[in-house]
Subunit: 326 residues, 2 copies
């Protein structure tokens, strides 16, 4: 089996590749080739048994999608894209990276010829939703994004469904919730604190909490997100039906519940490293985000998230800290 991963240098891409390399197979079929692409060179984990082709190019650039598809991958994980803040700051870059790249990929598949009919797993986002919201947001709630990023993801979902319906490929789109605990350094994303209030105290550092502890949000671990992608690749068109874009499940909890879980797992001293410092801008942004999802269809189709925020913290300690709390 040949697998193509776009956005291979990003956090989810890297973790997906690690999992594929460890498993050496996808749904019972051995992986004999991996094509990894991103705008920066993706790192390759140790112990790869499959042949690896690395393509460090912009998927939206002319000819790149055709070149990637010429290798006739059986499964495409299309994770590439620019994030929300960047798509909002640079209108043209957002549309090029998030929309034009998707269309280039879909067109390349359509024109590849010779009964080529890959599985395409696309990472969408809960940013496709825009308030006011019902609570929880059901599977049939309309998409009225409040960002260009959310707009681009929603358009990609529609394209993927149409190309699937027309028989050019088998698509499935996954609306990921907030990924938590995100590894790495604190960044300027408005959502960054959801991860940093856990990650930084566990690593012995202070963290800033810019919002009220009553704020409710839905989270899934990076490990769960990779699990969603793997599970999606194994779903048949019959299981999916025509509505191929799915809101993923997650753990819905308040910031206060996140902190209680941290204290339970790591103790008072670690939880005391969170400093309250309200930031009106972050408060306003976070207030406009969706809080909780029903995700009934995804659960019925076998997608599994964590059961509690405690579990999300334990996964971070296992996967990122070698089981050790500072």
């Amino acid at each position: 089996m040949h697998i193509l991963v776009t956005g291979a240098a990003g956090m989810i891409g890297r973790k997906l590749i690690e999992r594929l390399v460890r498993d050496r197979a996808l749904h019972g079929r051995a992986i004999d080739k991996l094509t990894l692409t991103d705008v920066v060179a993706p790192a390759l984990p140790l112990g790869v048994s499959a042949a690896v082709d690395i393509v460090t190019q912009d998927l939206a650039a002319p000819g790149v999608a055709e070149k990637l598809v010429a290798g006739r991958p059986d499964v495409i994980f299309h994770i590439a894209g620019v994030v929300s803040a960047e798509a909002e700051l640079d209108f043209d870059k957002g549309y090029r990276s998030n929309l034009d790249a998707m269309r280039a990929l879909l067109e390349a598949v359509r024109h590849a010829g010779g009964n080529f009919h890959p599985k395409l797993v696309f990472t969408s986002s809960c940013a496709v939703f825009g308030g006011p919201f019902p609570d929880p947001i059901g599977d049939e709630f309309h998409l009225t994004p409040h960002t260009s990023y959310g707009t681009q993801k929603a358009i990609c979902e529609l394209l993927l469904a149409d190309y699937t319906r027309r028989g050019f490929l088998d698509g499935v789109g996954l609306r990921l919730p907030a990924i938590c605990v995100r590894p790495g350094k604190p960044n300027k994303a408005a959502s960054g604190f959801f991860s940093s209030i856990i990650r930084e105290p566990l690593a012995g550092h202070d963290a800033l909490l810019p919002v009220d502890e009553k704020i409710l949000h839905t989270h899934a671990s990076p490990r769960a997100a990779v699990g969603f992608l793997i599970h999606a690749a194994g779903l048949s068109p019959e299981q999916l039906g025509p509505r191929i874009n799915l809101t993923m499940p997650g753990v819905s909890c308040t910031v206060a519940e996140q902190i209680v879980a941290l204290r339970r797992i790591a103790g008072d001293n670690v939880a005391a490293r969170i400093r309250r410092e309200p930031d009106p801008l972050v408060i306003r942004i976070v207030d406009g985000w969706p809080h909780r999802f029903d995700a009934a269809r995804a659960r019925a189709l076998g997608f599994v998230a964590e059961q509690s925020f405690d579990e999300i913290i334990r996964i971070h300690i296992e996967d990122e800290l070698g089981g050790v709390i500072s």
Copy 2:
């Protein structure tokens, strides 16, 4: 005031232009220029007082949108597009005419410079919805189109909302119900019978009814559709809020109720010109269409459709038959 109409040679475009020429003004501002564009030459009604510029070109072709926008129209009615059956038969043409043309128009407006900020009224379609449906379909039901046409219209809605949110223009999208009674010759559209079972008997001809009389559908007259477009052009961004794409109201009735109305208005002899001839293909297609819409937001914003199917028939007799039944 300068008004640009795309799709000016189509049925709705022609009727909109007739209305604008008759009114000589739009929401209290005199119309001093009309730019009319389509891929075939639009006819010009008699008695035009405004300056008229006719552009017979493909909006999706390079440079055409820029040329149209260079005249800095205050209001753009973007009605151009290929219909459902054609978009399904010719995948590339559908995406080019319905999606790429819209994007070209939006980009031309965005790049026109100099505080150019037109009103853009876009004709979407209830084909953005795909079953299974609730009854009625509410204003917050998701868009899962079952056709490429519906997909293209849904994508255009998302783009229009994002360009509006970003401040490049003031957009409003109108999901039109079935337009009935559609004037002209019978065509091969699966929906054609909804109009032809009224139009043909009133003109002294037989008509075929391919479906069961229990089929329920939602209709608005061509006059009402033009009214929607005019009304939309007068709505302020404050009235619309961020959800600028609206399902239009209409008259929901069964085919049996259509026929009862025809009999009431034109007599038994006219209604007897309808011949039942079930067509399994048409039955299957029509069965997948949305039946009834709530359209609460559009009604609250002042959009007005007919009150009964009788009224729809009377409008056809007035507007198309000079008040005379054959």
